[in-house]
Amino acid sequence: MAPAMRPGDAAFAAVEHVNAELFTLTYGAIVRQLLTDFEEVEQVNKQLDAMGYNIGIRLIDDFLAKSNVTRCSEFRETADVIAKVGFKMLLGVTATVSNWNNDSTECSLILEENPLVDFVELPETCQGLHYCNILCGVIRGALEMVSMRTEVKWVRDMLRGDDAYEMRLKMLDQIPEAYPYKDDE
């Protein structure tokens, strides 16, 4: 492996890829079907977040196995890994970390490119929809598997007319590691 390769690029190179079209269109069709089934936009936001959570708790294993990242010593490092390695490896884009609060427990992940929203336009009737809410769930689920309870939500969304995609990532607490092992097994 070339020594100059950035960790995100190395992680991206380590996994199989497919054309993003199928992914983007499938996600869009799921959102559309949920909107038909639930009618209430708030319910759809919740479902998308729940789906993301379920994906996150499984995807983290794959990520840790293939990305070569080591244990993060502090939350700042964790945010960096998500932005530079996680997003790159899975979605092929990188995020920018910014707007840290004073005690380093809260930051923003800003996406300039977002493969989820290619071909997407929100109609008037979906104004409260967080179209990409699945991403919040994925991050929350993945971090929970490495002992961090977080709150993740969208604060800016270009589909809603903002100038960027910005997620707010807030660290709530560390879950003490409890091993399910028993000595006699």
Binding site: F12, E16, E21, L22, L25, T26, G92
Partner: protein, 173 residues
């Protein structure tokens, strides 16, 4: 735009698996037909859109067979990076598309039977039951693509030995 954009294959797998779990286990656990219809509808929608995109630079198809062949070769290659392995027809509107290694079934595991050489009906029924929910989406995908290309049809799937799978297309007269 999306032209050359790529995402990790595991993203696609994860989203599809979670969609199946959401509809079949979480939202409609006691109504399998309803869950199946919803997931198939999602596939249908995507099949329609993909067919449109994959055919935008090619001439019109002459007949139904040509469309089916397009699905077996180009469409399958775009979506699954391989072609359909075997195509059969009864020449009366029924086509069987067989994929010997269907991507979306390669990671499916089933409680292994007590006796590995056991090929009794119970074990193949078990396979069919476990694989079933994962086939609604590709059935919808094929039906959506064919419908968009002027071949109205019904699509079902059969699986006996994982990860091989056959899709049965019945063209509507």
């Amino acid at each position: 735009m999306a032209g050359g954009r790529e995402v990790a294959e595991s993203c696609v797998d994860a989203v599809i698996a979670e969609m199946v779990a959401t509809y079949c286990k979480r939202l409609h656990p006691s109504k399998p037909e309803l869950a199946a219809r919803r997931v198939e509808a999602i596939g249908y929608q995507v099949g329609m859109q993909l067919a449109e995109r994959y055919t935008k630079d090619r001439p019109r198809f002459a007949d139904h067979l040509e469309v089916i062949k397009f699905i077996c070769k180009d469409f399958w290659a775009e979506v699954f990076k391989k072609q359909i392995d075997n195509l059969k027809t009864n020449h009366r509107g029924v086509f069987v598309l067989q994929d010997n290694r269907f991507r979306w079934l390669t990671r499916l595991s089933i409680d292994s039977p007590a006796n590995p050489s056991d090929s009794s009906p119970t074990s193949s029924a078990k396979v069919a039951q476990a694989a079933g929910p994962y086939l609604y989406y590709p059935c919808g995908l094929i039906r959506g693509a064919l419908t968009n290309l002027g071949v109205p049809c019904a699509v079902s799937a059969e699986v006996s030995t994982l990860p091989a799978c056959s899709f049965i297309v019945r063209i509507k007269a």
